[in-house]
Every structure is written in C-alpha cells, then in structure tokens.
Amino acid sequence: MRTVLLMAANFLHQQRWLTVVLVLYAAGTAAVLGFSEKQVSAEDAAFFLRQQSLYAPLFTLFLAVSAIHNERKSRRILAVLSKAITRQQYLAGLLAGILAVLGAYCLAIGISGVWLVRSSQASLGQLWMLLGMTVVTSVLVSALALFFSTFLPPLFATVATALTVAVPAALEQAAGRGWGKPASGLFAGDAGLRSHAGGPCC
C-alpha cells in the first residue's frame, strides 16, 4: 500500500501544474459567471456544472492514456520497475495519482458549483447528484483508459475507452429504453454521460 501511495504522490507531483491549471480553470470559470452579472441565473449555474462535469472525464481520459506512454517514452519506467514494486502496484499507483488530480478538480468544481447554485437560489440536491456521477464516470474512464494503454498506443486506447463507455448508451439507443435500462444500471458512467448530454440539472 505504501508503494502505491508513493507512486500516486509522485504522479501528483509530476502533474502538479496541470492540477493547478484545472483547479484555476474551474474556479476562474465560476468567477467569470458569478461576477459578470448581478444575479446568477439557474441556467448559468447549470451551464457551468454541465460543462465542468463533461470536462472532468475527458481530462482524466487524456491523463490516463498518456501516463504509461510518457513513462515508457521517457524510459523512467525502467527506473521504477527496477525497484521492489510489482506491475499491479505500479498501475494502482498511477490510477491513484490520476484520481488525486481528479479529486482536486472535482473539489474545485464542487466548491465553485455550490457558490454558483446558492447565488442563483436553486436547489443543491441535483448538484451533488451530478458531481457524484462525474466522479464515478471519471473513475471508470481513467481505469479503462489505463487498462487499454497498457497494450495500446494512446490514440487507440482513447478510442477503445470511448467505445467501451459508450456501449450502454448505444445499446439503449439501438434497442429501446427497456433494453438499455439494465446496462445503464450496470454502467454508472452511462448515466453520467446522459446527464451531460442534456436535461436541466438545477
């Protein structure tokens, strides 16, 4: 466990500037929306949350597909795998690092979202739901992307992850709502994606 945490902390350190940029981006977007008008509308808050919760899985996808590729390309992977660390621990460490970046980003979205939703005097219930779905979708996406990137180049890993995550939604579209329900239940990511695609959240 200690080795996994060490790898995660190392990944977070490597991606510290990206993490700062993501956090600032979320906070900055909220600030622009919040301060540009006297009264923040519910639509503005919904727009912000929908946009950020779509970006979160996308960012984690790109972070995850490039993690192993970058380590291989720079040959740093040799310096790590020559130590007393198993491949499983190494991958778990990378995943934990990606989730730490995601955690910081989602925290920024959450805090900014609460502020915007409160300013718009809308209900907070949908916000937590959307945030929860975003986290679950992002975790699923990063785990899948990391898995595919162990044997595929980044581009193919991205396509494979996108296809895998989109399967339940495609099933539902192809076979009707009744067909898609069990698959949607299994794949929380699908629910998250559908919530991004439309529908008021606040």
Partner: protein, 304 residues
C-alpha cells in the same frame, strides 16, 4: 555457493504484428554470475546485452528458457529490493536530487533513519552533496549518470546491474566509479557490468563474456582471455628488428610475436643471427584486440 545471476538457455525473439519479421535477440543464452565477482558483459551494439539485462530485471519475459536472480525467478519484485540497477539511458523524475534518491530508496523498502543515512552516504561517495537540492532535470549528462548510480546504490544492493555506467563521465569521475566498484567487490557485492569501455572492463572485471548476435562467443577469466597460449612473445637483443615480421624495438630489445609451434625455429633464428634470447612469454593481448577478433570472426562465419 549458488550463482547470484543465472540464465538458463534463454531465447528472446522480438516479433512484429502477427508474429512477422522475428528477430532473435538472445539465442539459447546461458550464463552464471558467481557471488562477489565483477562480471564484464561485452558485445557490439545489437548483440543482446540490454535484452539479457532487461530479462534479468523482469522488464520482459524470455520467449524460451528461464533464469534466477539471487535465488528467485526473474521478475520477482521482492528480490529487486536487493538489487541496484542503472539503465543505459538514465531517465529519472525531475525532482530535487536528494528527494529522488530517497524516493528510490523508499520504493525499495528502505525506511528512516537508515534511508536518511544511506542517502547521505551515497551522495557523499558520488560527490553529489553540493547539488543535493538541485532539480535532476537541470543536471548535466555526467551528473545525471552519477545520480543514476546513487539511486542504484541507495538500498545497499547485493547485486549491482550496470548498463554503461561510465559512458558520460569525465576521467576523474570514471576513476572514482571504478574505485567504488572495486570497494564494493571487496565487501562481497556482485557487479554485473555491461560496457563498451573495454579498457575499464579489462582493469576491474574478474570474468568476461563476449556476446555477439545473441550468443556467447567467449567466456572466461579476464586474465586467461588476455594471455594467449597460441602466441608467444619473444624478446631478444643483438639482432636486427627487420629480420622478424612485426618486430618492435625498445631500449635495445627487439620484441616480436610467433605462434607457439614456431617458437623453436624463432629462437634458433635469433641465435643464428648472433643474438641472445632475453625472455619468451605467452603473448598478452588487449581486450579490445580480442573483442575485435571475435566480432570479426563471428561476422565472417555468418556471411559464409
């Protein structure tokens, strides 16, 4: 005593997509490295040295065959905590040097206060104390190679696997590393050293293996390899150097090499020319000469 490192009929083939264009990097490769020795692992580029090292470290699996490192099968993570490894291309995380060395020690399971002490020791030994707080990304290639050695040594390894450890070092640093390796051998550590610096290998290694196209072409004690039993060096005086092919003169002594079977004829010729034999020794060749001879012969054999 069991070997520290053992390859047992290891074959490694690299293939393209769907098994096309297979390339055999190691071909039925067997080798034993005994405890407490410095083992020189030589070969031209593409001979399979790095592949052998990567298999031993568990980075890749052999196509056929197996092997052991410190009594456990290749790839055992726990065993690697007793091994120090320096890759041919030193690539490390861009962090302050001392923190990076600590991180590598932590990955190997070393804990404070032992880790703090070992970090200080290796940085002092490799003359890196002054740059301990500098980011590794800002160091020169030579410095980086020393950092690579520091991270390999921080866990006080029983076996040190080094792939080109001195290629980027300046002469003083190279001498320092050589002395460090000799000091490690003196305390019973084993060093598996792959290098193109033949003069260095010649100076410090106990045994040498020369690899060519995935096969060992020569293996033995360095001193045995350097001394030829097929050729003799004859040193004489009072003769004209032009009388003998390839003869050289130094301080009035004429020196030339003959094959062992022609020893008697050469001595009688010296006497017949009125000269005097000073000594006759087995001819000593440099590792470079042997290396070139082996790779040339193997190349010709392959072309035939």
């Amino acid at each position: 005593m069991p070997p520290v490192l053992e390859f047992d009929h290891v074959t490694k083939e690299y293939c393209g997509w769907f098994g096309r264009n297979p390339v055999c990097a190691l071909d039925d490769f067997s080798l034993r490295v005994e405890p407490g020795e410095i083992f020189g692992f030589l070969g031209p580029n593409g001979a399979g040295k790095t592949t052998a090292i990567h298999i031993a470290m568990g980075f890749m699996r052999p196509t056929r065959g197996s092997g052991q490192m410190l009594g456990r099968c290749f790839g055992d993570a726990h065993t690697r905590s007793r091994v120090g490894f320096l890759a041919e291309t030193v690539a490390l995380y861009h962090r302050p040097l001392a923190r990076l060395v600590r991180f590598c020690g932590q990955l190997n399971g070393v804990r404070d206060p032992q880790l703090r002490q070992r970090t200080r020791e290796v940085l002092e030994t490799l003359d890196l104390t002054d740059v301990a707080d500098r980011n590794v990304g800002k160091l020169s290639r030579g410095m980086l190679q020393r950092v690579g050695l520091a991270q390999a040594l921080v866990n006080d390894p029983e076996l040190l696997v080094l792939d080109e450890p001195t290629s980027a070092l300046d002469p003083p640093a190279r001498v320092a590393v050589r002395e460090l390796l000799l000091a490690m051998r003196a305390v019973g550590k084993t060093i598996f050293l792959s290098s193109h610096q033949l003069s260095e290998i010649e100076l410090i290694s106990d045994r040498v293996a020369i690899l060519y196209r995935g096969r060992i072409r020569r293996l033995g004690r360095t001193s045995d390899l350097l001394e030829s039993h097929e050729h003799l060096q004859v040193v004489a005086r009072g003769v004209d150097p032009g009388s003998f092919e390839g003869a050289t003169t130094s301080n009035g002594f004429v020196s030339f090499e003959v094959v062992a079977s022609a020893q008697r004829a050469a001595i009688e010729r010296v006497w017949s020319l009125g000269g005097e034999i000073v000594r006759v020794n087995p001819a000593r060749r440099s590792l470079e000469q042997i290396f070139m001879e082996i790779t040339r012969n193997a190349g010709e054999e392959r072309n035939r």
